[in-house]
Amino acid sequence: MVTQRLERLRVWAEQIEVPVDVRGDGPPLVFLHGAGGPHLQGDEFLDRLAQSYTLYMPHHPGTGESDPNDVYKLDNLWDLVLLYDELLEGLGLGPVPVIGHSYGGMLACELAAHCPGRVSRLVAIAPIGLWREDQPVTTLKWTIAPPQELPALLAHDLQAPAVQRFLGSLTPPPGADTETQVKVQARFVWALASTGKFVWPIPDKGLRKRLHRIRAPTLIIWGEQDALVPVAYGEEFARRIKGARLEVVRGAGHLVQLEQVDRVVPMVLDFLRG
């Protein structure tokens, strides 16, 4: 059983309180979650990392247990990246290894590019943040996907138990009272809104021009069958980040770390050991 607690840190001239999910024991490791919010990350992946590390997962402003309206206090991606620099400073972290998935993967790259001294090793799992004319990725893909189409966009094998557990957490538990239903739905919608603010309508905010600044050894992980952000983007990231290695995982979609947890966890642990 991995220990778990929620810390709250005030940053941004004391104006924003960031909840940070802290689990496990060991050297520090930061995980930046995706657009769906901190509640949709798959506990198995995080807990297994937390067996060797103290894992810090901040809730992006507006998501999870944060104040929904805090997201209005940041104007743009630049503000957001600086907020994360302050947050890690406040946690006494750095240089520290940083992992990010999807939207969080983009943030991890931004952080490593803006503050190269802050990030010791970088793992970007299916990050957004670049643009390819031949395979366009817009925010519409995940923010307004019809509910019945969303699962196939995110996962390769919809019947896999880990995927089923994930999809189950998107909707309120059966028989939940009205307030629980409202809370679960509002939290998911608002996570998409709060993260969408910084990448709307196309998540290409100039990261391409900043990737050359990344000094941290970098591992890029991608699900071969990713239907949301095609694997061609993995090649793009690997090409643009100096010395980066790309691992393409078979039998996985966008939620590669959930779908192939037995392959991704050792891959990440090996890389972090250096």
């Binding site: 997201v71 239903q181 409202v182 969408g196 603010k197 709307w200 309508p201």
Partner: protein, 408 residues
């Protein structure tokens, strides 16, 4: 009571299998498969002729609005329509309000462009403009025009402040906003109406929108196609909020849009209008439900409020028939007597001072639309006029068109 004709300018001849063939009427129905520009030119001209006919018949205002990339209603710039209406009604001596419902604040760059265009309309019409400041739909603002949903309302508020300042300040000023920075603002022309034209805020039932209207003494207009029953919770909450804010309950603070079709008898109305009404709900409102409330389109408070209230799924509309639309009050349709009774009931129930009627609906052809206008104006309108007369003053109407100032 003020009653204005509202026109959406829909595609009137979509194929029978439109809703099976395409996933939506908005954003991505292919123009090149569905439309012929010369034929569409006819739609625009019919729309203008129908509105002008309404003005001749004595309707109080003519409403046009802005939408993009769709077959539901495609006037990307309603001010082009408003300009024609302002000029034609002036030439014909028609004392009618030009109600722009209107230019979308969050997407007009820079927004004091609206201050300029509206002032032009007020000058051309000689002070007959109603300045609508619509919030705009998710499809238009977030999808077609790419605004981040969380910035939608912030942009709206900044744009409105800028417009009002641009109309009222007798100095050249610098605007250092969050979304717009302008070194020297001094709009030409300025409106005829002082300090500025009446402002209406059209919305679709977000709590934050009507509260903003209430706090700022704007006329909140609830534009919905689901009739008085769906509007009642919104209207009630709006009046409660006004009361809480210590404002009067002047019915002219509230605008409401209603679909109306009139014929000689109830049976005749069904015969003539049923298919056009069904076309409207099945094709013109063929919109995926999730597009209507893109994450962030509503602020958090409104989102939670809306989730608690639950909502109608647009897919369900396809199952309904004419009889359902009438029974559920989405549409008021029938003989003049039926329409009079039902409309009067709705006006009083919701406390509507500024009524808008949609008289051209979906595929309704030009000739039938004219008939609907004529029967409505001759047989129904005179019976509605007096509803609030003498008891309340309409502060949200061009002053020069208020012929008999009501006692307060």
């Amino acid at each position: 009571m003020k009653v204005s004709a509202f026109q959406l300018m829909p595609h009137r001849e979509l194929p029978d299998d439109f809703e099976q063939r395409y996933r939506s009427v908005w954003v991505d129905p292919p123009w090149w498969e569905l439309s012929d520009p010369e034929r569409v030119g006819e739609y625009y001209n019919w729309t203008l002729d129908e509105l002008l006919y309404g003005a001749k018949l004595g309707l109080d205002g003519l409403c046009t609005n802005e939408h993009h990339q769709n077959a539901y209603g495609f006037m990307p710039n309603p001010n082009l329509m408003g300009a024609i209406l302002a000029k034609a009604t002036r030439d014909q001596g028609l004392d009618v309000a030009i109600v722009q419902m209107g230019s979308t604040l969050a997407t007009t760059q820079p927004p004091h462009r609206i201050a300029e265009e509206y002032a032009m309309l007020d000058c051309i019409s000689g002070g007959r403009l109603v300045a609508g400041v619509p919030m705009g739909t998710s499809m238009d603002v977030e999808i077609c025009y790419g605004v981040p949903p969380l910035e939608h309302r912030e942009r709206f508020r900044e744009a409105l402040q800028l417009i009002i300042r641009a109309w009222t300040t007798n100095e050249v000023f610098a605007w250092n906003g969050k979304f717009w920075q302008l070194p020297a603002v001094d709009v030409w022309p300025r409106p005829v109406q002082k300090p500025y034209p009446p402002i209406w805020l059209p919305g679709a039932g977000s709590r934050t929108t009507w509260r903003f209207a209430a706090e700022n003494d704007l006329c909140y207009c609830f534009l919905s196609y689901f009739g008085a029953r769906a509007a009642e919770p919104v209207a009630n909450a709006y009046w409660e909020d006004l009361q809480e804010l210590g404002k009067d309950l002047n019915p002219y603070r509230f605008g409401y849009l209603q679909l109306v079709t009139v014929s000689e008898t109830d049976a005749r109305a069904e015969e003539e209008y049923a298919r056009h009404i069904e076309y409207f709900y099945r094709k013109c409102l063929h919109i995926p439900t999730e597009w209507f409330a893109i994450p962030g389109y509503q602020d958090y408070e409104s989102l939670v409020y809306a989730l608690r209230r639950g909502g109608l799924r647009f897919e369900e509309l396809k199952e309904l028939r004419y009889k359902d639309f009438v029974d559920q009050e989405f549409v008021i349709s029938g003989s003049p007597a039926t329409v009079r009774d039902r409309l009067e009931d709705v006006i009083k129930r919701l406390r509507v001072g500024n009524l808008m009627v949609l008289l051209q609906i979906g595929s309704m052809p030009h000739e039938l639309t004219l008939k609907n206008y004529e029967l409505f104006a001759r047989e129904v309108l005179p019976h509605l006029r007096g509803i609030w007369e003498g008891r309340w003053e309409n502060h949200w109407w061009p002053k020069k068109l208020l012929k008999q100032p009501a006692a307060t």
